[in-house]
Symmetry: C2
Subunit: 316 residues, 2 copies
């Protein structure tokens, strides 16, 4: 007895079931829309975009590597400060400080969080200690926006901009990154300029959309999310570890462009401004997989998969 | 430098900051709404409901106990079968079979999932092997429904029914449980009656609302969710463990009413049909915590905390 519960994300990485599946579907009135697997299998090289090494962070944890893509279109000041911190190897030897179930995993300098640290916090070197808030920005004609059709509880419009989930308000002309699973932001204190990126977090539960426009999102985890989501939950208030011995150490964080080309990964993300992406969204709004008996025909911005792959050798 | 990122859930369990906080808030134009901590601190004993031992499962894992509340109002046939399986100690010694990042953790009989099991699957005893689908039910006058005001991407109406997140469609007169973080369902194969509850799953990521009305939700995790969400992700297709040695063993699962009263826990959940719950929802729609600079004034059904507490000794 094989009990299946269809995959939201990993299905994309499985071998395609083949084109015979569609015609063999029982009781199909019309030809079903392609599945996400089929959409991806039919994608062209131009549907994919290589990660820019200058916008890519590798964070090495004991379990494995987390790859983060920065978004300088929405958080240019933060991206610049994060690059400076990475140049200086700021995070090497620092730690995962907080894992709050259903909410966030957060990392940075234990001495900066401790009430009575044994030594002063690590120097920021040439990085800034405060940064003007980048919680939203002006919409612009040259900023891509692929809208979703099904509305949103929190914002007037939602969609994707160059691979990132975003919202827009036509009345104010503003746009902002939204807090979906795997998005990365810069923790801050109560003042808006107090999140310089030294302490970062990622969403590990239901999208905490109440944080949108309250804090700077700076990018998203494109690979290795499981190394941030499967950590033991912190046993102190807000998921901080009471005992520093329980904190997971960060081995090192590097900007890909600071590494020799031979040490860089070759990852590609699916572009979000193409007919292929539109077909992927449709494949998730109206699931033609045989398992689905009821097809809702809707999708939330945080439920759209954003596929990542190893670049084919020929494209490197 | 204390970098804070306010809690979604655990804040409810922290000491209240005290009533002076509100009057000391800077630049407040009007008296801010109470925070969730303040709402809970002001709650009355009648705002809470004790878990019914006949609807409460204890699942003991090596790391700790997971407590699940069944919902016989929405899944009576499944609840009955789960009780039968628990009476027989069906799950004792079985395992966590699947952990798919951002999606679900699933548990049951390894022999029922294996391609070439070393021994036959465990007997279901007096439990049913198939159950009529309980994916939705008729609305009814005696079924509580506390609506939320901000709409939903997937359903015409959303809200809460006796502590569970639900949706309704006034056109069809149907109502159903929805897939929020921590909800528990009965995995099934491609036929609708193939999920007898032997294999269960819980949501560990963004609410997979596309599953709503496609599978039977049977309850929710009310305590110990972290023991299901922090497990190593499975390395096989759809998050199944390729190597059975990586599966976490289930020590035992018991229905609380099968245990002597001295071994039962005394947990209470906040009722969702009271002015206190309405105040809690408002405290989350419009955050008055000092950290929030932008108050969105909206909330998604899967972002409303459903507080659980140890019953005060006097109420037992």
């Amino acid at each position: 007895m094989k009990l299946r519960l269809m995959s939201v994300v990993l299905a994309a990485l499985l071998p395609c079931a083949g084109s015979t599946q569609a015609s063999a579907a029982p009781a199909a009135q019309t030809k079903p829309a392609p599945t996400m697997d089929q959409v991806l299998k039919a994608s062209k090289p131009s549907d994919w975009r290589a990660l820019d090494p200058n916008d890519t962070l590798y964070m090495d944890l004991p379990e494995g590597r987390v790859v983060i893509e920065l978004d300088p279109a929405y958080a240019p000041l933060h991206a610049a400060n994060l690059r400076t911190l990475a140049h200086q190897h700021y995070w090497d030897g620092l730690a995962i400080l907080r894992v709050q179930d259903g909410f966030v995993t957060q990392w940075g300098d234990p001495a900066a969080e401790a009430e009575h640290p044994a030594h002063p916090p690590r120097s920021l070197g040439k990085a800034k200690a405060t940064i003007a808030p980048e919680f939203e920005r002006d919409s612009a004609a040259d900023l891509p926006f692929t809208p979703l059709p099904d509305g949103d509880v929190y914002a007037p419009e939602v969609g994707f901009s160059d691979g990132f989930p975003v919202a827009r308000d036509p009345k104010t002309g503003k746009t902002w990154l939204v807090h979906c699973y795997g998005m990365v932001g810069a923790g801050r204190d109560n003042t808006p300029d107090s999140g310089p990126g030294t302490e970062l977090y990622t969403v590990i539960g239901q999208a905490p959309r109440q944080l949108d426009r309250n804090i700077a999102l700076v990018g998203r985890v494109v690979q290795g999310m499981q190394y941030l989501s499967d950590l033991p939950r912190g046993n102190g208030p807000m998921g901080f570890y009471k005992n520093p011995a329980h904190q997971t150490k960060i081995e090192r964080v590097r900007l890909a462009s600071d590494l020799p080309p031979s040490e860089r990964m070759h990852l590609e993300v699916l572009r979000t401004d193409t007919p292929t992406f539109a077909a992927l969204v449709e494949s998730r709004r109206d699931r033609s997989d045989a398992w689905y008996l009821y097809k809702v025909g809707k999708i939330d911005v945080c439920n759209v998969p954003l596929p990542v792959r190893e670049a084919p050798a020929a494209g490197r």
